[in-house]
């Protein structure tokens, strides 16, 4: 696999992660099973005339994209690739409500325009005046990773390009609540920090955006090298163990040389065994880090893991709130990411310091 460097990154989540100078120094303790992002001042990044039509996901996406480009020093990307599991749910809901309440009459254009899954990619491009390749992937909990694979393929052919890759998902009033009914979200509010001890089914839900600038060329702004990434639609926990070992083997890496693993445990007793099986076997001698007790879960929550990896390399430390076992790495040069949702959309990625 050709080289792929993360040369810029930004994140907006339920924690104050949008400030590039902070690394989970202050933690917001959420007490609900559905909670919102901690917002930066969007007016600093989006003109008022443009922002008045934007739902939360568009604001988060456009702002995170702007921040990521700034951190990379790239003004105009050669491609914009976004991933979202559920798209612009807020405006989709409003559009559907209007159809319902106005008896399928008087439909206005704004909500329809803003309700498509590729709205964020389009708005980022409009803001930049970027007419380059622009694609959005909707692949459940592997939407962000699928976008990364597309970027990786593009860079394998044209390494000099700068590809802006993002993942965005938002909470919406009604459609998010539906996931309480089907058991994906816990029925009762909990202290989210204690998510992994909940002992119940379902998880907690939130929203956020991560954008990265990828290139085949290392720069002085490079945060990490993305060695490789793989997605698996469906696998058993036994199969996942073998797949991760094969993945590492292909990179010429053993678990001994992985300094930390970043895992997507989300407190759902129905599916966290996928992680626990690894945590007590091939990951047992490796520092284990989890993050969904801070930011909740949503289809592109795994993009937070990439932000974490980059920040760990940048700061050369791990905030203690992330640690879930007693093993402490002596250095942070190689980080493995693993995520799944409901036993599907597994993703594995390997990051290295560069």
């Amino acid at each position: 696999m050709s080289d792929c460097y993360i040369n810029g990154i930004a994140n907006i989540s339920a924690q104050p992660t949008s400030d590039p100078n902070l690394f989970l120094d202050e933690i917001i303790s959420h007490k609900e099973s559905i909670f919102r992002s901690h917002d930066p001042n969007y007016k600093e990044y989006i003109k008022p005339a443009a922002m008045r039509r934007m739902s939360k996901s568009v604001k988060m996406g456009v702002t995170a994209a702007s921040m990521a480009l700034k951190s990379s020093g790239v003004e105009m990307p050669d491609a914009i690739i976004t991933g979202t599991g559920m798209g612009c749910k807020q405006d989709s809901e409003k559009f559907l409500e209007k159809i319902l309440y106005d008896d399928e009459q008087f439909l206005t254009p704004t909500l329809f325009i803003q309700s498509t899954h590729n709205t964020v990619g389009g708005q980022v491009a409009l803001g930049l005046g970027c007419k380059a390749y622009n694609l959005t992937y909707v692949q459940g909990a592997a939407s962000f990773e699928t976008s990364l694979i597309d970027a990786q393929l593009m860079l394998s052919e044209e390494s000099e390009k700068n590809v802006l890759v993002g993942g965005i998902d938002e909470v919406a009033k009604n459609s998010t609540l539906l996931h309480k009914l089907d058991g994906q979200i816990k029925g009762d509010d909990i202290n989210v920090i204690d998510l992994f001890n909940s002992g119940t089914g379902g998880t907690v839900h939130s929203e956020g955006a991560t954008f990265m600038v990828l290139s085949g060329e290392k720069t002085e702004n490079s945060y990490a090298k993305m060695v490789d990434i793989e997605t698996i639609s469906k696998a058993s926990e036994v199969e996942i163990k073998d797949i991760i070992e094969s993945f590492l083997d292909r990179q010429g890496v053993t678990m001994d040389s992985v300094d930390a693993v970043v895992l997507g445990n989300n407190g759902d007793i129905g599916y966290d065994h996928y992680y626990e099986n690894l945590q007590t076997s091939i990951f047992s001698n490796t520092e284990q880090l989890c993050y969904k007790h801070l930011i909740g879960d949503y289809p592109v929550a795994s993009s937070f893991g990439f932000w974490l990896g980059c920040k760990i390399f940048e700061n050369n430390r791990v905030p203690s709130i992330l640690k879930v076992n007693e093993v402490s790495a002596k250095k942070y040069d190689t980080i493995l990411l693993y995520n799944q949702y409901l036993g599907k959309n597994h993703s594995i990625a390997l990051l290295q310091r560069c």
Binding site: R52, R53, D102, F106, P109, T110, I113
Partner: protein, 85 residues
């Protein structure tokens, strides 16, 4: 007529999500598009729907909107003459 103008200003602010604009900031003769309120072509479509939904006025030719939506005063005049509800 004054009441209709105020009502229009409130509806425009709400329908077009002009969150930072107050009713008192919109003059009766201020241009709604361009240098005035700064509305754009998508807003024009929203206003066409607003005319039909709230006042029962269906524009046969969307290009008519350019003259009708010149200002709050012109819009209120047109509505008062053509409204069916």
């Amino acid at each position: 007529m004054a009441e209709l103008k105020e009502e229009l200003k409130e509806k425009i602010i709400e329908q077009l999500s002009l969150e930072d604009v107050e009713v008192s900031e919109i003059g009766d003769d201020d241009p709604l598009f361009g240098d005035g309120l700064g509305l754009d072509s998508i807003d024009a479509l929203e206003l066409i729907v607003l005319l039909e939904k709230d006042y029962g006025i269906k524009l046969k030719d969307p290009k008519e909107g350019k003259a009708i939506f010149e200002s709050i005063k012109v819009m209120a005049d047109y509505i008062s003459k053509h409204r069916t509800k």
